[in-house]
């Protein structure tokens, strides 16, 4: 098992390097010239040849003329900068955000916390709904409740999440006025203590989380249901029933453990779907999260910020796949023995 995890970790590091290199080169397709940008304010006071000299010098200092691989390694912090130090992503320097006029690391801290909180929250919420629901539907296959759930889940995964958001906004914010329509805190509110602040935030993110949970119910419920039906149709279930085991034991101990395998494989894609979907949700509800920041960064051409967020998404997907692999190993004995 330990060897297996190590192997997966190594694989992830390689994939991360490849991905980040691809992303970095993608950004280098954009025609920008930081040296020119930096010299622009002094340009008027300089003669043409002085300017040219300074410009070339600055280009050299910034290392803009070096090959792409070298620049990439510098950005990663694996190659010496022109002044001989290592100063890159691995040292915690993600660059400078032109939009916010601050270091990217400072800019993304708070939104990252929010996004992770919202996503984990809604993942847990929807898993705790979909799994029991899927099992129940599989056990009561063909009954009225099952058919109704099939229809509702079909609606859930056919309708785009922002339409669900609009409908929920209309119902909860306009008709019933239960939740605030946008934002993350009550405007102009002074909090007595951090607990109050937390409660206010929960109140504001309640609707986004509900929408995200609702939007992600459909696919997962269907998946749990179908893999559970597969498991229940196996011979060992008949044997277990023939042995006179209780129905609960048959379902949760025999069938569910086997149905879990395909479910786990599909959780990764689904979890990433939630993360991607949170870009839309955060923009719809104006939440201060990574998705919103990413959107702003892309719209304002703040590419160092965008690159950093992109790395965040890549890491989320890779760590997610690692976690899935590990849990796969935990659930499936064959994986433990084999690899």
């Amino acid at each position: 098992m330990g060897k297996y995890i190590l192997k997966r970790c190594g694989y992830i590091v390689v994939v991360f390097l490849i991905l980040s290199f691809l992303m970095y080169s993608l950004y280098n397709l954009i025609p920008t010239d930081p040296a020119r940008q930096e010299l622009e304010p002094q340009r008027k006071g300089l003669k043409a040849d002085e300017y040219q000299m300074l410009y070339q010098q600055l280009r050299k200092e910034m290392g803009l003329d070096d090959p792409l691989v070298v620049r990439y390694l510098r950005w990663m912090g694996l190659w010496q900068d022109t002044d001989g130090t290592f100063n890159g992503v691995l040292e915690g320097n993600f660059g400078y955000s032109n939009l916010y006029k601050r270091n990217v690391v400072e800019v993304i801290q708070a939104p990252m916390g929010n996004t992770i909180f919202i996503n984990i929250f809604s993942t847990i919420a929807s898993l705790s709904i979909t799994i029991p629901l899927g099992i129940y539907c599989a056990v009561h296959k063909g009954k009225r409740f099952d058919s109704a759930t099939q229809v509702v889940t079909m609606l859930g995964y056919s309708i785009p999440v922002y339409i669900i958001a609009l409908i929920f906004m209309y119902i909860f914010c306009v008709l019933w006025r239960v939740f605030p329509i946008m934002g993350q805190k009550t405007a102009g509110m002074e909090y007595a203590n951090s607990w109050e602040e937390f409660v206010d935030m929960l109140y504001h993110i309640a609707l986004p989380v509900i929408v995200m949970t609702f939007g992600s119910l459909g696919g997962m419920t269907r998946y749990v249901r179908s893999s559970m039906i597969d498991a229940l149709s196996m011979d060992y279930i008949r044997t277990a029933r023939a042995k006179g085991l209780k129905e609960k034991v048959v379902i949760y101990s025999h069938a569910w453990r086997n149905a879990l395998l395909p479910v786990i494989t599909s959780i990764l894609g689904w979890f990433l779907g939630i993360f991607g979907g949170s870009v839309i949700i955060e923009n719809t509800f104006s939440l201060n999260g990574m998705g919103k920041l990413y959107w702003q960064g892309l719209n304002n051409m703040d590419f160092e910020l965008v690159l950093a967020i992109q790395m965040f998404y890549s890491i989320v997907s890779l760590v997610g796949s690692l976690l899935i692999d590990i849990s796969y190993g935990l659930v499936d004995p064959r994986v433990r023995v084999d690899k």
């Binding site: 994939v15 490849i18 991905l19 992303m23 993608l26 950004y27 397709l29 954009i30 296959k141 079909m154 609606l155 995964y157 056919s158 309708i159 785009p160 999440v161 922002y162 339409i163 958001a165 609009l166 409908i167 906004m169 209309y170 914010c173 306009v174 329509i181 946008m182 249901r225 179908s226 039906i229 597969d230 149709s233 990764l268 894609g269 990433l272 779907g273 993360f275 991607g276 979907g277 870009v279 839309i280 923009n283 719809t284 998705g291 990413y294 959107w295 892309l298 719209n299 965008v306 967020i309 992109q310 998404y313 890549s314 989320v316 997907s317 890779l318 997610g320 796949s321």
Partner: protein, 617 residues
Amino acid sequence: MAKKKGFFLTRWLKRGVMGSDQEVKDIMQEEQVQTPFRTMLRNFLSKTTVRVGLVGFFLVFLFVLIGPRYWVLDLSEQDSTLINLPPSQNMMSVPSEMKGKIADIAAGRTYGVGLDTDGKLHTWGYTRITEKINVADIPKEVQEADIVMFAAGDDHVVALDKNGQLYVWGNTRLQQGNFTSDMKKKMKDPDESWDIIQLEASNQFSAAVSSDGTLYLWGNSNLADIKLRSQYQGQVAKVALTSNEYICLLKDGTVAYTGFKDKGSAFAAIPEALKATKVVDIASTSSTMAAVTEDGRVVVWGNDKNGEKSVPEFSAPVKKLYGGRFHYTALLENGDVVCWGSNKYGQCDVPAAVAHGAKIREIYTGNFQNYAVMEDGSVQTWGLKGFILGTDNLGRDLLTRIVNGGRVTMTVGAISVIIATFIGVVLGGLAGYFGGKTDLLIMRIAEVVGGLPFIPFAMILSAVIGSRLDPTQKMYLVMVVLGVLSWTGTCRLIRAQILAQREMEYVTAAKAMGIKEGVIVFRHILPNVLSLLLVSMTLDFATCMLTESGLSYLGFGIPLPTPTWGNLLKGANNSVVIQQYWWQWVFPASIFGVCTICINMIGDGLRDAVDPKSAER
């Protein structure tokens, strides 16, 4: 081996539909044996959800396919007078209690005001100006007064009563109701002569002409040129207003630009043709002016954008001329009615009952509406009735945008599915058949690509590559991006299928015959997994449409003004739109929802039909 006839795809289809070319020897056998395709088709069509899905999808598909022919998209379309109109067809519905006793009508922007012979005022059409302001809320003093004359502007109504008192209601926040000091004096003092013969209202300003030739102008002076050069005061016979300027017909029969913009105005250059002759009537559209000469000709000048200057040949001299927003309506001496200019909303389609020699008492023309009141008191209308699905925040017809947007969304979805399927089939086929290192490499790539959060990556590709592209190229880019990011599912499916099929006897047989490996994969094995491929394509189609719309919603898909179902909803995440302009998001959202639900129903049914094991679920 006999040479096979026909293209391989046709042969597959033929084999699929009619079975192998073996002759059926026994009738009993024929009844029992059914080709797999027929079994699939029967299973497929036996489900209610599938039937509903098929019907629904084909309705939407036909709507989107044929619709653009009738609702032609004009990308540059916008009209400030038609913004945020709710679905309605009642802009010209004169109330039934007025029928037969119409005394006067004024056509406003999207509404009409009418006076019946009992002296009661009525309003119809879309009368709401803002959430609070409604032209239909006629003030009490107006209802009680004896109104003799009134005019409807873009967002306000002006009325004059028998005692010479003027009233303004509707939007009065922008000085629409601020009378000048002489007007106030005249209204207060009954001895002063104040015999108003014409009342006009336009975009936030109004004008009145009295019988002694005095022109009174009032309203929002920031927007409109509402001053009069003093040498013309006392000579004005008639006034015509555009959306921010005006022109006067003087008592001596000449037309004069009497405002202060002079050279800055397109109207100041009065055509030479008018100088030699006497003018009897003037009218205006939003950007042109027209004058009727003594001998019944019409001369148009100004900024001609919609064909107002192409005056048609008249069968008789023009008696009276009326101006809408982009069109003119002329009443001829012989009673014929002729319209020209923009005919976008049918405002130039004069009904047959009016067009030739009918007994017309009076014609009223406003924005896009025309009313003809006949001698017998009945009323004929033509022009813009309203919008079936309302308009958006730039005054564009939502129905047109939904129909054309659907076409774009579906095309993008279909093409990206084809791209994704192509990549998936080729890579999956290679990985599945050759195995080993090829398999490992391809599956690792698939794992990485499939493991990326989709929307952020699609956004970045669209932003970085798309920054230098024009809208059409960007549309192609979105198709390619969607295709390139969503092939992994198909690839995995094909690989798994081929791994299973590779062990079958027919593949061994093909190998034994010495057929090349590439041919075995793509021409022997692939037809056997075609049905599963079809299922995944159907489901992917819905997913691609959803993703495209998500991207467009965020502003990284198809750029405006090209409509798609996604970017129609882009403006909707705004509390004002959600609360007040419900039609702007409900209609696009519902047709899109119906479409994807139908496709998913078909896809699910197809999967159940193709894979009997999944049907048991």
